[in-house]
């Protein structure tokens, strides 16, 4: 690991240089909010963003991705990943990417995710603005982000760039970096520590206590029914979640009616037909028919089911689901704190 410093005045030239070298994705303004998008100019980059509308996983796990394309001659995988830089990822989203990295590579290695992931250099960045529903400081607090190649922290007069991998180190040649001083490193550490004190929401208990109590609450049907009473089953909480990775697969024809594609789309366990099977003659079996059972399944996934595998909860405290939920019932902090208090 090396730590370097770049002056604010030189930063735009650095971003310009990496843009010229290959695709760079970073947070940009989208009306009053922010989204990860391909950067055309360094001015577009908004490292002061609070949280992106969709998590950066969309680069590796796009909302729609062709798994194969077919025509009269046969079929093939259209996978052509390109080397790219993903710049400005907050640490909670790096933690989420660490989770999807594991989940897509374990047991059956999913090339469609991993190819895009392995060709990406991730530059994390410190959180300059805390979003209104964030609770990243109190969830899975002992799990550290590890999938990034470099970490950028804004300090007085410039940025400290800590490079952690070969890929990260390869970025240094694009800018006027100099070795960071101890004082600069100390300041960067203080900046990153300070942001942990600024979350507007907070879980009141540790990971293991939460996991045990949420799991034990499974059969409290009255509670889940009450919590899910206003759920529209829209799946927004799933769609905006950086750790959700469920998908559906559909085939579609092109207009020629002979060629087409098999595509996977983001899916969400809150939607009504997620676990529904056709039995024939119009009959169906929906293994999670009630809203409450779907609502519960999401919380079980986030707070308990995957903990052993992931080494922590499948939630990173970004607050996207809390802010995105129309009925404002998806907030894991409120749900979990209520369960813990029950």
């Amino acid at each position: 690991m090396t730590a370097s410093f770049i002056r604010s005045d030189d930063f735009a030239a650095f971003v310009t240089a990496i843009i010229e070298a290959g695709p760079v994705y970073g947070p940009v303004a989208k009306r009053s909010r922010f989204a990860f998008a391909r950067l055309e100019t360094p001015e577009e980059l908004r490292l002061d963003y609070d949280v992106s509308i969709l998590p950066p996983k969309k680069l590796f796990f796009p909302p729609a991705q062709d798994l194969l394309q077919f025509d009269e001659a046969g079929f093939r995988a259209p996978l052509e990943p390109t080397e790219k830089v993903l710049l400005g990822v907050h640490f909670y989203d790096v933690k989420a990417i660490d989770q999807t990295d594991l989940l897509f590579s374990e047991r059956n290695y999913d090339i469609n995710y991993m190819a895009h992931r392995e060709t990406t250099t991730i530059v994390a960045a410190n959180i300059q603005t805390v979003s209104s529903r964030a609770f990243f400081a109190s969830v899975g607090a002992d799990v550290q982000p590890k999938g990034h190649d470099a970490f950028l922290t804004a300090i007085a007069g410039g940025y400290v760039l800590e490079t952690l991998t070969e890929r990260g180190g390869a970025l240094l040649k694009f800018g006027a970096f100099q070795p960071a001083t101890d004082a600069q490193l100390k300041e960067a550490a203080a900046v990153n520590a300070a942001v942990l004190e600024q979350c507007p929401e907070k879980l009141e208990h540790g990971t293991e206590a939460i996991a045990a109590k949420v799991r034990a609450a499974f059969k409290n049907e009255a509670m889940w029914t009450a919590m899910a009473a206003d759920c529209f089953s829209c799946g927004t909480c799933n769609t905006v979640c950086p750790t959700c990775y469920c998908f559906d697969v559909h085939d579609t024809w092109n207009v020629d009616q002979t060629s087409g594609q098999r595509t996977r789309y983001w899916d969400g366990c809150l939607t009504e037909d997620f676990a529904k099977c056709s039995l024939g003659e119009g009959a169906c079996e929906n293994f999670r028919e009630e809203r409450a059972t779907r609502f519960r399944h999401r919380m079980m996934r986030k707070a308990t089911y995957l903990n052993e595998k992931l080494g922590g909860p499948a939630c990173v405290g970004c607050g996207r689901c809390s802010a995105g939920c129309t009925a404002d019932i998806a907030d894991p902090v409120r749900i979990i704190n209520q369960i813990m208090a029950s």
Binding site: P81, L103, A115, S278, L279
Partner: protein
């Protein structure tokens, strides 16, 4: 990133292989029994109880339990019930046409736990299809197993599957076969009643290994019978069905609590799933 593989060195788990339909029989008004052969001549290597994702380009993929035993080489059987877009298109196909398969996928029956034992198979409805892979296996390697009892229940006589097999099993000496239908018709002289009405007809010991597969409601009633015989639940193996979409433990649709049916199952020891609130 810390992991072992590199994407250029790994097989794409979503690419299927072509199979040719060598035989197609309309088994019931909604179910078609296909015999398939891999078009490239390389048979798929599978274990009884495993599944494949069956697909047709432009229509999609569906999970189907393999309905024949790996002891019968070169071809394999699938029974497809026409219920939707993919199954509707597949069941319209004829001999000589192609389908695509990915697999085998999932965990089948643990034969090490069945060999040398008395085996009871209880199949309800379309549950006879995946269990037929094991039935054939046992019949083909009969010496490896002790007593073999098979219960099969269908809704009505006209909905019975594998009628050629049933005819054989009724008189076979190497399987004690009992059958029932929920609702009889004038042609039916056999047992009428739900599957549990077969249990009093055969004396079973608590040492028996039981394999059960049927519609969701079936498990609740069959397990009661097995409990009454005194068969420990770790010796009961349930072949479960869910909406297995990707078949490789990613897409999430087939989850029962924290288990993925497509990779952790579809065959589970009852003891392993009885604590899962969403299982039965």
């Amino acid at each position: 990133m810390n992991h072992q593989c590199h994407w250029t060195e790994v097989e794409n788990i979503f690419l299927p292989r072509e199979a040719t339909i060598v035989r197609s029989v309309q088994a019931t008004p909604t179910e078609t029994h296909f015999t398939l052969k891999m078009t490239d001549g390389q048979p798929i290597e599978y274990e009884p109880g495993q599944i494949v994702e069956l697909s047709l380009f432009g229509y999609g993929e569906i999970p189907i339990g393999i309905a024949s035993s790996p002891t019968r080489k070169n071809t394999f059987d699938l029974v497809v019930r026409s219920v939707g877009r993919v199954s509707g298109a597949v069941t319209a196909l004829e001999k000589g046409q192609s389908v695509y398969v990915r697999g085998p996928l999932g965990r089948g029956f643990d034969l090490t736990k069945l060999r040398g034992q008395d085996v009871l198979i209880v199949a309800g409805g379309i549950g006879l299809c995946p269990t037929r892979s094991l039935i054939q296996y046992i019949l083909d390697r009969r010496d490896e197993f002790k007593r073999f009892v098979l219960f099969y229940g269908a809704r009505e006589p006209g909905l019975q599957l594998f009628t050629d097999d049933l005819t054989m099993w009724r008189t076979a000496r190497d399987v004690e076969y009992c059958e029932t239908v929920d609702k009889g018709d004038p042609s039916w002289s056999g047992n009428v009643g739900v599957i549990t009405t077969l249990f009093p007809q055969v004396e079973l010991t608590p040492e028996t290994r039981a394999v059960i597969c049927g519609p969701p409601i079936f498990y609740r009633f069959v397990i009661r019978e097995l409990d009454m015989i005194g068969i420990p639940r770790e010796n009961v193996f349930a072949d479960l069905e869910r909406r297995m979409k990707c078949g490789v433990g990613k897409c999430g649709h087939c989850q029962i609590n924290d288990k993925y049916v497509c990779v952790d199952g579809p065959v589970f020891s009852f003891a392993d799933v009885q604590g899962l609130e969403e299982a039965f």
